[in-house]
């Protein structure tokens, strides 16, 4: 199955792009599976695992939330500037 991934802020910079497609094996996956695929492609993202929040189809999600073919999965790191 294939999902669209959106990265924000520092994650976008580290990956070099904000929008990408991500292929996950099988037809059922979780947000955590998508993240693992991402980290395999962009190892620099790894330290952010516990710090990012995630959304599936623009709705806040947990790492254990299911992801289906065609979903949009967003990863947002916290930012602190003011």
């Amino acid at each position: 199955m294939r999902v669209t991934v959106r990265l924000f802020a520092r994650l976008r910079e580290l990956a070099g792009r904000g929008d990408l497609d991500c292929e996950c094996p099988g037809d059922a996956a979780t947000v955590a599976d998508v993240w693992q695929q991402l980290v395999a492609r962009y190892p620099a993202l790894a330290p952010y695992e516990r710090a990012v929040s995630c959304a599936v189809n623009a709705e806040y999600a947990r790492r254990t939330s299911p992801v289906a073919d065609g979903d949009e999965v967003a990863f947002l790191p916290p930012v602190s500037g003011g």
Binding site: A44, Y48, A51, Y60, P77, P78, V79, G81, G82
Partner: protein, 398 residues
């Protein structure tokens, strides 16, 4: 939040009627709404990038009492975005220039300056007397502190935060709605998310996010519209795009959940892993037995080493655009994010001095190199800023 009874609201003077006439003819505001604003008390935490536009618009809108918390002094590098302060204010307390600016905009507004850092010891007392808290702080410990205090006090938190070209905004801490910890239960390891000082920020960005915070504050005070509760707004300036994600209160949230474990304010420096004790024992998420940080070297000691011809390599872990502003003689540029891939360029047998702008990123780099087996690694205390202060005043500070 409960709106005050209309009968108890202060009346408007003829002068105020003229000043606020464009509000008064809006059915959603009207005379009663304007009197609500006059009665209202808003606390802006931070008088910087977000606090500037927020406080200026709230003052212009006629919010009766504006509290400001800040302990900083105006720096030349603030003026690119912090419109409360002008060129002539450099070196003054931010609160002093803020009061001048806000009174110039609207003399009817009462400004309450709190010249202090917001801490676990003073936050509840300081925030208790206000109707809405506007979070314009610039660091994670204070953001978690503001969040938790708002939840404990049941005060709405008009939240905004920025990074380079991107901003976030929401309203937290409202009964039944989510809080910041529902979204980000734990802070990022220290150094992972750079500040504006480290990463840079588009000057106009806090103007956009700060005015969104002011808009939400006014809506909350008037009880109009759909507040940004349960919605997290993400703004991308380069694409000029707003996105929204829906957010629910997390029943397992440690602060606002059904069985909260945080029922009083905690030590937020330690929570975020930035207190001296926490740094010495590694980041908050590190396992026990994490390596001790690399030793420090002062700018003067480094200068003496260089003058004596001691073999060493200075690794500058800043970004290329920072390197272009200034760099140390003989240094090599390897931005922190590239260090893991480019570690092969360094010889583990040669002593390494890691250096950045202020010494924070380079401490992470030095610790990383030690983990990778480099024996002699030091961190330049205070970074190139301290080098400019103590060794070479011709190096421009930024």
């Amino acid at each position: 939040m409960a709106l005050p009874d209309a009968g108890a609201l202060p009346s408007l003077t003829p002068d105020e009627v003229r000043r606020y006439s464009r509000h008064l003819i809006l059915p959603e505001v009207g005379v009663e709404g304007q009197r609500r604003l006059k009665q209202a008390r808003v606390l802006c935490v931070g008088a910087g990038g977000l606090g500037s536009p927020a406080a200026m618009y709230l003052a212009a809108a006629g919010v009766g009492t504006l509290g400001l918390v800040d302990f900083d002094v105006v720096d030349l590098s603030n003026l690119q975005r912090q419109l409360l302060h002008g060129t002539g204010d450099v070196g003054r307390a931010k609160l002093a220039s803020a009061i001048d600016r806000l009174h110039a905009i609207n003399p009817h507004v009462h400004v309450e300056p709190h010249h202090t850092a917001l801490t676990s010891a003073n936050a509840l007392d300081l925030m208790r007397g206000y109707d809405v808290i506007l979070d314009g702080t610039d660091n994670f410990p204070t953001r978690y502190l503001v969040n938790d205090a708002c939840v404990l006090l049941r005060k709405p938190n008009a939240f905004g935060s920025i990074f380079r070209f991107e901003g976030q905004a929401s309203v937290f801490g409202v009964e039944g709605g989510p809080c910041y910890r529902c979204l980000y239960p734990e802070p990022p390891p220290p150094g992972l998310v750079p500040s504006c000082a480290e990463a840079g920020v588009l000057g106009v960005l806090p103007g956009i996010i700060g005015t969104i915070q002011a808009t939400e504050t006014i809506k909350l005070l008037l009880g109009i519209g759909q507040p940004l509760i349960g919605r997290f707004l993400v703004f991308e300036a380069l694409r000029m795009r707003f996105r929204e994600l829906t957010l629910r209160r997390d029943p397992e949230c440690p602060v606002c959940g059904d069985h909260p474990t945080v029922t009083a304010l905690i030590d937020y420096e330690q929570f975020c892993g930035v207190s001296p004790a926490a740094l010495a024992s590694g980041p908050a998420t590190a396992s026990p037995g994490a390596p001790v940080p690399a030793p420090d070297i002062t700018p003067k000691a480094l200068r003496d080493w260089m003058a004596a011809g001691t073999p060493l390599v200075v690794v500058d872990v800043r970004e290329p655009q920072e390197w272009d502003i200034c760099h140390l003689p003989g240094a090599v540029l390897i931005p922190l994010g590239e260090l893991p891939q480019r570690i092969g360029e360094l010889n583990p047998a040669v002593p390494v001095v890691c250096q950045c702008r202020s010494g924070i990123r380079s401490a992470r780099a030095a610790q990383f190199l030690r983990l990778q087996g480099f024996q002699d690694v030091r961190n330049l205390t205070g970074g190139i800023l301290a080098w400019a202060d103590e060794v070479d005043p011709t190096v421009p500070k930024y």
